[in-house]
């Protein structure tokens, strides 16, 4: 099977049952994406597929052979952090850090959804969306943080959203 991950072509022959998450971690050595619940409940495995955030644990690798996949490894490097990575460091948006790659990939996808004008459950109207902390919390509800760094995660995402705006 052929995959394009972070702009690099990979070939692998995993078992047909392999999830996208297990392909990344166990077959390609891309261990930035984390396995929490393995059932789409915690968001630690969030990656971007063709620019959209998904739970990589709830998707079969074989179904992603034509897709452009971006993981945390493709967003920034220790020397050149993605703005969200820098903001999470600045605001201490974690404690143990296990959920952080998923939080950051999810936030990248989420900010793109906001840019496209997608409403959320807490949006007052379905017309022009106003972006605020309540919107960040609702839109990030698929990413759990057992250390409960939520206030700092919201601070980090708000910083980047305001810088982009």
């Amino acid at each position: 099977m052929h995959f394009t991950i972070n702009g690099t072509a990979y070939t692998a022959e995993p078992d047909i049952r392999t999830s996208l998450l297990d392909l990344l971690r166990e077959h390609l050595g891309l261990t930035g994406s984390k396995k929490g619940c393995d059932h789409g409940q915690c968001g630690a495995c969030t990656v971007l597929v063709n620019g959209r955030r998904i739970n990589s644990c709830l998707s079969l690798a074989v179904m992603h052979q034509d897709d452009e996949i971006t993981t945390i490894e493709g967003l920034g490097t220790p020397e050149d952090l993605h703005p969200l990575q820098a903001a999470f460091v600045k605001h201490d948006g974690y404690q143990c850090g296990y959920c952080t790659p998923g939080q950051i990939c999810s936030a990248v996808g989420m900010l793109d959804e906001v840019k496209k004008g997608w409403p959320s459950h807490v949006s007052e109207t379905l017309g022009d969306v106003e972006f605020n902390d309540g919107e960040i919390s609702e839109r990030m509800s698929g990413n759990l943080c057992r250390c409960a760094a939520y206030p700092n995660i919201v601070d980090a995402i708000r910083d980047v959203a305001e810088a982009k705006a």
């Binding site: 969030t46 998904i54 739970n55 959804e113 409403p119 959320s120 949006s123 509800s141």
Partner: protein, 324 residues
């Protein structure tokens, strides 16, 4: 997970050709793979329909919308036409799951979501839906999220969806392709089955029949809302929910379309509730009488008894808002 063979048909006609007892279509996979990991679902063959040309939302000649079965929940909720004319649908979709799941979950798959009954999900427990004839651990067990209407001695599972509740209020039609190559149009009101003594059969779909589209009729006048009551503010299944479309003319309720989630094995609708409202001047007494009709046959199973008063209060609150 049990292993399976994998097919990637190039057309819907080819897809329905893979009919077989152990065959499952897979699109978003967010529910099916979850269940396969637990071996609640053990298909022999997966037919990957995710790349078929069924991801468009088109206007129909009679002013409605034709929604492809593969339109992701996110895209359907964000579609300008849906946001402007079918607010109840947009709101229901946005109340469900998480951003990641809505990006993957599809229109057709959402209709076919399986119950989140704890015992259905646990292969160590008895469940007539998962293993017919094994019994029901939910009756007499933990049943906080389970049914108060439409249940049977075999099964008290609830349908977990939000989108289908809005679609039932909207009188949607489900369009399918049968393995024999015939197109079928099924009203959403006829699509789901009550459990009776065969809770493993949840819809009227034949083996191998594929949902290709959902059609919405032209939008109706009046206010629309979707209200979901749940155990946390986001990313949780409904305890109870209401999809409502109500119009008021000359101080009286002119039209009412009401569907309910969290109550039973299917998105619930009861025409007697709507008949009790139409022609009446809005008041809490009228709303309470309608709720009493809805809940006349409601039965709690212990830990879900609270749903009966909760549903009544929620419906009254929704009707106040819809008629304000």
């Amino acid at each position: 997970m049990k292993t399976f063979t994998y097919e990637k048909p190039a057309s819907v006609e080819e897809a329905v050709g893979f009919v077989g007892a152990g065959t499952r279509f897979i699109a978003g996979g967010t529910n099916l793979l979850d269940l396969m990991k637990l071996q609640v679902e053990t298909p022999d063959k997966l037919v990957d329909i995710s790349r078929l040309d069924l991801a468009k939302i088109e206007d129909t000649d009679n002013g409605g919308l034709l929604i492809g079965a593969l339109v992701p929940n996110s895209d359907l909720a964000a579609d300008t036409r849906v946001r402007e004319k079918y607010e109840v649908l947009s709101r229901a979709l946005l109340a469900g799951a998480s951003g990641q799941l809505r990006n993957k979950a599809t229109t057709g798959g959402n209709l076919l979501q399986r119950t989140r009954c704890y015992y259905f999900y646990d292969p160590a427990m008895a469940c007539n839906k998962r293993t017919p004839g094994s019994g029901c651990s939910a009756i007499g067990g933990y049943n906080r999220i389970l049914a108060i209407l439409g249940a049977s001695d075999s099964c008290i599972a609830t349908h977990p969806g939000d989108m289908p509740v809005a679609m039932r209020a909207l009188d949607a039609t489900i369009i399918t392709l049968t393995p024999g190559g015939d197109r079928r149009r099924i009203s959403i009101h006829d699509f789901y089955r009550l459990p009776g003594d065969t809770p493993e059969i949840e819809t009227v779909l034949e083996p191998g029949e594929l949902i290709t589209h959902v059609e919405l009729p032209a939008p109706v006048a009046g206010k629309q809302l979707y209200r979901k009551v749940r155990d946390r503010a986001s990313y949780a299944f409904a305890l109870v929910s209401v999809a409502g479309l109500v119009s008021v003319e000359n101080g009286k309720i002119a039209t009412a379309q009401l569907a309910f989630g969290g109550l039973g094995p299917m998105p619930w609708r009861d025409s007697r509730v709507e008949e009790a409202l139409i022609g009446m001047a809005p008041s809490d007494e009228v709303f309470a009488a309608a709720a009493d009709i809805l809940l006349a046959d409601a039965q709690g199973y212990g830990s879900n008894d609270f749903k009966i008063p909760l549903m009544k209060r929620t419906l009254i609150a929704c009707l106040r808002e819809l008629t304000a």
